[in-house]
């Protein structure tokens, strides 16, 4: 969605240049992404923070296929989204500029191995905090809270919530938590795995599946792009808390990131990050979540 508006904006700018200030009302000038408060503080010797600060570089695992959260923009070849902004907030606190972040795609099944073998220093990839995962990685946050919802075709009034899914085909991403919720809690529904949400949406519009399910924020983005064909129905029926993954044993780093997040929530950086990304769907910024320091 973001991508499409960007392209539209770019096309709009081009048209405006050609057609000398004709009515091209829909294309607003592109707003830059916000910058975040940087610290010049020195860090304890031997800490991960000091190492990253001195290296002048940080590897962060993010998603490349989730609009609004972490999505690689094919036009700029750079990832965009709320997770990306949070990554910049953390990097700024380490005294690093956005250009010094090396974003790497971390698909769901790569997140734990990437942290454990040091491929990435952090994972910020719509990474839900769960008890099983807490056994193998450390979580700072949560920095965002969302819930699973359903999206259906506009003309379909038979599905109003997860209890209406009996015998219906429900699409979500292979190996994702929303798909597991359908498989485990709504067994009469038929879970259909696809590689990306975009493909699920396509199967929904061509009638091969009856609903697409995942976190509400992502669905709203798709529904907003095709408002005549799609709608999001029902209340959220799960609670997902996105956390920042670090190495299990690196408690000092985890505490540091929690402090950074708390500061970002207090000084408005968190809200800025939201408004530059998920907020574009038209939904006002929610109450920031309370950090779980454990």
């Amino acid at each position: 969605m973001l991508m499409r508006t960007r392209i539209l904006a770019a096309v709009g700018v081009g048209l405006a240049l050609l057609a000398t200030a004709s009515a091209c009302g829909s294309s607003k000038p592109k707003t830059g992404t916000p910058s975040y408060a940087a610290t010049q503080a020195s860090f304890a010797a031997g800490s991960t923070m000091e190492k990253l600060h001195n290296a002048g570089k940080i590897n962060i695992g993010v998603k490349f296929d989730q609009p609004g959260i972490g999505m690689k923009n094919p036009a700029t070849d750079k990832p965009e989204g709320f997770d990306i902004e949070i990554a910049k907030v953390v990097a700024a606190a380490l005294g690093l500029k956005p250009e010094q972040i090396n974003f790497q795609e971390a698909v769901s099944k790569n997140r734990e191995p990437f942290l454990q073998n040091g491929t990435v220093d952090l994972v910020i990839a719509s990474y839900s905090i769960t008890d099983t995962r807490k056994k193998v990685v450390g979580f700072a946050g949560p920095y965002y809270q969302t819930g699973q919802q359903l999206m259906v075709r506009k003309d379909d009034s038979s599905i109003k919530g997860p209890d209406d899914l009996s015998g219906k085909k429900v699409c979500s991403v292979t190996g994702s938590t929303p798909l597991a919720n359908i498989q485990n809690k709504y067994k009469s529904a038929i879970a259909v795995p696809f590689a990306t949400y975009t493909e699920c949406v396509q199967q929904l519009t061509n009638g091969s599946v009856d609903a697409v399910t995942t976190d509400g924020a992502i669905l709203l983005g798709y529904a907003a792009a095709q408002p005549t064909k799609l709608k999001v129905v029902g209340e959220p029926f799960s609670k997902e808390k996105y956390g920042i993954g670090v190495k299990l044993e690196d408690t000092a780093f985890r505490n540091f990131i929690n402090d950074v997040l708390q500061k970002a929530i207090d000084n408005g950086d968190w809200k800025k990050a939201y408004e530059a990304t998920l907020g574009k769907s038209g939904n006002a910024a929610p109450q920031p979540p309370t950090l779980e320091r454990y």
Partner: protein, 214 residues
């Protein structure tokens, strides 16, 4: 390890789905591949052209692309089979090109003199193929044909991203819920695939020995 014991029933069901997918696709692609191979050696130029065109296009297209075309393209044409059917079509379309080439290479190993002799005896092109060329060609290409079938079986894993809940999809489910046991899960599923492919190789080896003895 506990994860594997707790879930062995659903793991087995997922591998059955993989087997069904591979088995059905194998039957379809062997039939289509044989037809293509016959086209490529036939005396009729348009058929030869069609056969070589099919192989050139399909064999040089990544399988994922074939899947995307079939799974997303067929509904645009108004054809909405189940996701399983669409996966069988995609796998068969793709693998048939390889089956065709393997069979054709087998046919080419038969000295031209044999086909000429058969024709001199008054055999038609069809009789020639059925009675003289094919029986020898198939025996010659059993090992590479087995490799193609093994590749087909492993290629079914792509269907996990196109609506079919097969073995690799199950693996991803387990990995998500049991982040503390990723390695045992990976190894177990690799072993699962190996059991099937080794089984297939054994059956072919047994058949080859029998064919050699007769």
């Amino acid at each position: 390890m506990q994860v594997l014991i707790d879930n062995w029933g659903s793991i087995l069901r997922a591998f059955l789905e993989t087997l069904e997918l591979a088995g059905l696709s194998a039957v379809v692609c062997l039939i289509v591949g044989s037809l293509l191979a016959v086209m490529r050696v036939s005396p009729i130029p348009p058929l030869r052209l069609f056969g070589s065109g099919y192989v050139t296009i399909v064999r040089n297209t990544p399988l994922v692309l074939v899947f995307i075309l079939v799974v997303h393209g067929l509904p645009e044409l108004g054809l909405k089979g189940s996701f399983f059917t669409r996966a069988v079509i995609a796998l068969s379309v793709y693998t048939a090109a390889f089956v065709c080439e393997v069979l054709r290479s087998g046919m080419l190993t038969i000295p031209a003199g044999q086909a000429e002799a058969a024709r001199a005896l008054g055999m038609t092109f069809g009789q020639n193929l059925r009675l003289v060329i094919m029986p020898q060609a198939v025996r010659a290409v059993l090992p590479p044909l087995t490799s193609v079938m093994i590749a087909l079986l492993k290629n079914t894993a792509i269907a996990e991203a196109f609506g079919v809940a097969e073995a690799t999809g199950k693996m991803d489910d387990l990995v998500r819920d049991h982040a503390d046991a990723i390695l045992p899960i990976f190894i177990a599923f690799a072993a699962g695939y190996m059991i099937i492919t080794l089984g297939l190789s054994r059956i072919v080896a047994w058949y080859e020995r029998r064919a050699a003895a007769s």
